[in-house]
């Protein structure tokens, strides 16, 4: 094969006028290739907030993908948002599998969010290998609508395996992780950073959501939402200025 001479100036392929157009075209091709791997015949899953949906791939989460919810410290509210998404994914009949190795998950709170007890399967893995295996199995099962798990460290290989498992099963995987995970490569479709905010009223809870990664969308957008304490409905309070995001936020 004859390699081009280093001194030969770069010429764009026929029909492409500028590098900008080339980049756009390639981006479109990548998006199409990625989409073909996902079971996109299903409707998108609402996050529970229209304002947030606008920032997500196909205006919502997609079945057969993973979503990361990053939050620092206790009582930050990330898991509530993940469960609201799980509620959307499950609908009236779907099953949610919750992996709880710490034994702290409190089902009455999840039931208050609108899930039903017959929709929930709670799994208590004894150790980390069991947790990783159980997550893989649950993501791979087409009978499950969503899987929720809380974990800190996750190596890239396992992450990739889970992504493929979710794709195979058509299951929405919801991973609640600390903010330190934001520096690691991700195989998730969406990565969101949740920060609690002081509430403006006693009826709702304010949370800031920053989109660190959203396949096919521009990352860096931030919004502030309020979750009603009684109805657990979520509404947009404000769109915030775009924030700078760490350069290693994406890996897939």
């Amino acid at each position: 094969m004859r390699l081009p001479d280093e001194n030969t100036p770069f010429s764009p392929p026929r029909g492409i006028d500028t590098p900008r157009e080339l980049v756009e075209k390639l981006r479109g091709q990548i998006a199409r290739l990625e989409q073909s791997r996902c079971p996109c015949d299903q409707a998108s899953i609402s996050s529970g907030c229209e304002g947030l949906d606008q920032l997500l791939p196909e205006t919502g989460f997609r079945s057969g993908t993973l979503v990361e919810w990053l939050a620092e410290g206790d009582g930050a509210g990330a898991e509530t948002l993940a469960l609201i998404a799980a509620r959307s994914a499950c609908g009236s009949e779907g099953v949610l599998v919750v992996l709880d190795d710490a034994g702290q998950f409190y089902p009455p709170a999840a039931l208050r969010l609108g899930l039903r007890q017959e929709q929930m399967i709670l799994v208590h893995p004894a150790d980390r290998p069991d947790f990783l295996w159980a997550m893989d199995q649950a993501l791979r099962c087409p009978g499950v609508a969503a899987v929720l798990g809380r974990l800190e460290k996750l190596d890239g290989r396992t992450f990739r395996r889970w992504q493929l498992a979710a794709e195979q099963g058509g299951v929405l995987g919801l991973l609640v992780r600390p903010t330190s995970a934001g520096q690691e490569p991700s195989w998730a479709d969406v990565r969101l950073l949740i920060e609690p905010r002081p509430s403006a009223s006693k009826e709702g809870r304010r949370l800031k959501i920053q989109v660190l990664r959203s396949r096919g969308q521009t990352a860096g957008e931030s919004i502030e939402v309020e979750v009603d304490d009684e109805t657990h409905t979520m509404h947009l309070v404000a769109r915030l200025d775009r924030s700078a995001i760490p350069p290693r936020a994406t890996g897939a």
Partner: protein, 504 residues
Amino acid sequence: MVFFEIHRGSRRVVACSDRAKCLGVAAGMPLGEATALAEAGMVHLEPYDATADRRMLEKIAEGCRQFSPVVGLEDAPAPSSLLLDISGLGHLFGGEAALAERVVRGFHRRGLRVRIGVADTIGAAWAMAHFGQQQQEGGGSLFPYRPPTGLELPSDDKADTEKDSRPPFDDLPIEALRLPEATVDLLHQLGVFQVGQLALLPRNELNARFGPELLKRWDQALGRLAEPILAQPLPADFGVEQSIEYPTSRRETIEWILRQLIGQLSEMLLGGGRGVTRLSCRLACQAAGAVEFSLGMFQPTASSQHLFQLVQMRLERLALPAPVAAVSLRAALTAPLQQGQQELFLDRRETQRLRWLAALVDRLGSRLGHRAVVRPRLVSDAQPELAWHADPILENHPIKQLRRRQFSSTAPGELPPRPLRLVRRPVGLAAISIQPDGPPLHFEFCGRQHRIAATWGPERIETGWWRGRLVGRDYYRIETDAGRRFWLFRRLHDGRWFLHGMFE
């Protein structure tokens, strides 16, 4: 819904739903008339499958063993009644009426309506169940109950005794005697409509005019002729075993033997139309006792591949103390395999979804243990840590529970606000509050200082003295100035503060 069959060349209705009945459809009606009565497209027509019907009845009969050890199907070409021998069992359930009510509730839980008759003979009980006066109705289940025919009455009610001494089914229609249609028609032509009218006819002529069936059924109903219940056979014991001439520790060999045995067991189960719900495995080790384990299944299965996967998963985590000399497998619990008939009202997709879920739960339970795969169930208890119960899925026949109607659901709004994470043991806090009984101002948790900006509460939770250890707590939902939310309580008897949960 209307079930029809082809009878003497024409299609006629065998059974129909309540909705169809409201439209005027009735059993025995020609199908054309039934479809004319019901508006087009309003009823679903389904050919009647007598075999599937019988199979389902046999399955229900098996479930009725919890009420009586002797359960059988009625002696008829197309049986539709179950016969339970409850002689001497009433006191175990608080009386025969209580037992009957329990049967009604049991059927109702399965979404089935039932009519029950209790009497000294099969014939009388059948008559009561089919034509007896309805005495009680609950949850769509009809329950006509009459005391046994030989019930002794107090001596001071002599007049009443004489009045009631005639069998209670004398007033019942002649059809109550389980007679062929032709005999009933003939009796009707002769003006005999009630059972009691038979006594007015010369007995020796009945046989000649109506055939032996009439006298036989009448005598059976009155107890003059014995009629046994043909009990359904108990499920067979399914077990396989293989000795190993040269004991081995090689996993591959043991797995190969297990695969062969599971194949044999699967064939046995399929032959009996049953699936295993609990499988016991025993590996006899040379001079070191035996290693035993059992596996529970989410739903009855006879799939050798699925069973082998579960056994293999368990075997991987098993330490064998010595070479294995014999392997045995036994289906400790079996149940009839799920049939298509059962899923009549579930679409194919839903059925497939249940199968996938069953396989997942089996795998999770096999590796993590039965108690690690649970379904939450709310319990009426004020103490938060006791307000729900983890029901191991593999021990509760949950395939039924996946259907919404099996559950009592609580509306989300009826539940009090609770944190998504509850710590196993409340964590003592160094908290400062201004008012003695008021919420704290700030506290320290996990080395971090939290200043409280908003509180909700108190919600007082106290338990009764009969619970042993008294629990008295004032719970507060609090939000820190950073927007984090926690669930704290003040212990009433000493005023100490604890963190019990996080609103994650």
